[in-house]
């Protein structure tokens, strides 16, 4: 399962190189240092360190079970590592707290779609605005003043995102009834509604057909370019990774085995071995 040229052509075709003129990669916004995470005896991550610079698209790749999702879960506080520090926007801490991570500006999508299945697309995306709503539940119950105003204001913002991701036609549909590809898009919309500075995408293109993958690639690049959002993404499709990311971290068995530009990583012997399954 080497990153070969066909996959690259397949999914990446038609997308521009990831060096948009509008954005300039800046100083590190996120620094992960020596993070180790274990569940009982299972070591999911062992001393992983890397940084993510402002406005860049950073990919995390690796074979199944390499600890990629665990890494994202550590970054936004779903899991609490035993060792290491996470520095986000200059503030270091041992571990993140989930809703604080959200308040700090970290958005997230999940590998197995984590939408609110009982709610419509519109309501799902509106929940992404929750941190920006100031009115109290009493004002909302009475539907007066600030509550009513905010509801309209945020609706307008959400509609912009709906337009951006081209999901106008399904806004009143309960998400449970949507096909998989669209659900993934709604989940991205919900994360975007938070207006995050750092967006963590866990396999945003997994299980999609070619056309859907191309759309998603375009959206990810557009988000990065238009909003300047820093993106960390996990992806299995090497073509996509090589095409859209600025730098790549490679994990294997919970350890970092390579870190660099797509070209550097592709040439790295350890990475080739990991993907070809050389005995450890």
């Amino acid at each position: 399962m080497r990153a070969d040229a066909t996959a690259q052509q397949g999914a990446g075709g038609g997308t521009a190189p990831a060096t948009g003129a509008a954005r300039a990669v800046g100083a590190p916004i996120l620094v992960v240092e020596g993070v180790s995470l274990a569940f009982g005896g299972v070591k999911a991550l062992q001393g992983v360190s890397f940084d993510v610079r402002e406005h860049e698209i950073r990919a995390i790749i690796g074979p199944n079970g390499a600890g990629k999702s665990s890494m994202l879960n550590v970054i936004n506080g779903v899991y609490h590592p035993q060792e290491g520090t996470i520095t986000f926007k200059g503030r270091s801490r041992h571990d993140m707290v989930v809703h604080e991570a959200a308040a700090q500006g970290i958005g997230r999508t999940f590998q197995n779609i984590a939408l609110f299945r009982g709610m419509t697309v519109l309501d799902n995306i509106m929940t992404g605005r929750n941190l920006k709503i100031r009115s109290t539940f009493l004002e909302q119950a009475l539907w007066i003043g600030r509550a009513k105003r905010e509801e309209l204001e945020h609706r307008r913002k959400v509609e912009e995102i709906i337009d951006f991701l081209e999901i106008q036609h399904i806004r009143k549909t309960p998400v449970g009834r949507l096909p998989y590809g669209l659900q993934k898009r709604v989940e991205l919309a919900r994360a975007l509604a938070m207006e995050p500075e750092l967006l963590l995408l866990d396999e945003p293109m997994a299980g999609m057909n070619l056309e859907e993958k191309q759309d998603m690639c375009r959206f990810v690049l557009d988000v990065n370019e238009q909003f300047g959002t820093t993106i960390v993404l996990i992806e299995h499709d090497m073509g996509v990774v090589m095409d859209i990311s600025d730098r790549v971290v490679v994990l294997d068995y919970g350890r970092k085995i390579a870190d660099g530009t797509p070209d550097e990583v592709r040439a790295n012997q350890a990475v080739i071995d990991a993907y070809l399954g050389v005995a450890h």
Partner: protein, 301 residues
Amino acid sequence: MAGPVSFFFEVLFSGLLAGVMYSLVALGFVLIYKASGVFNFAQGAMVFFAALTFVSLVERGVNFWLAMAITLAVMILLGILTERVVLRPLINQPPITLFMATIGLTFFLEGLSQGIWGAQPHGLDIGIRDEPMEWLADRTGMFLSQFDLFASGIAAVLVTVLALFFQRTRIGRALRAVADDHQAALAVGIPLKHIWAIVWAVAGFVALVAGLLWGARTGVQYALTFVALKALPVLILGGFESIAGAIVGGLIIGASEKLAEVYLGPYVGGGIESWFPYVLALAFLLFRPEGLFGEKHIDRV
């Protein structure tokens, strides 16, 4: 001899013995939960239904053992019907939906049993008297009921039989496999539906035993359904998936509620048995949400 110390032990032991009776009901819950992931609120109604059916048969002149066999057959039938009519259509629904369905089943069974046999209370005599053992009182000054001791003996036998059933028989092994992982069990060709019917039937048997013991002690009446409510804190304490937890949890709840009633009750107006086990279990939950013997689950996202 009857000093405060021996009084303390008397309260403690009678509490422990009462706890065994709670364990007996909790056992029915654990069996079904382990095998099918269903929290069967109707276990109490099943206890009531079994006891009422048995006692009504005996009162109509049916032989003790024959009545027992008929009731057992009825409970097995009930288990199979429950699996077919209630559980099978609800397969893959969230656990809380199944839980609510068993609340519905509770009402249905309560209505059914009283509809068939009438609502009047019955006495039930299984030949063991609920009075203190004189030889024990003479020697230690503690008044412990021989009925309680008998009940604990039965419970011990039942638990041993169940443990052997789970460990040594083919069905038992299949049951444990199902409890571990439904999908995997299906994949290796274990017929899930039969297993669930069997486990409900076994739970029906446990309900019958619990119903006979509780019925003999308190009389067979509607209040018997509340026994299930006593078993719930036991489950919280012991964990829903552990037979050992049901036993130990029962003992802890039984002993602590008696001790609390005797030593704490007078200061707060008495009657604290109704809620003390719950508060104890809750306090415990705050420190160990998975129960004494439960397994800690890691949410995967």
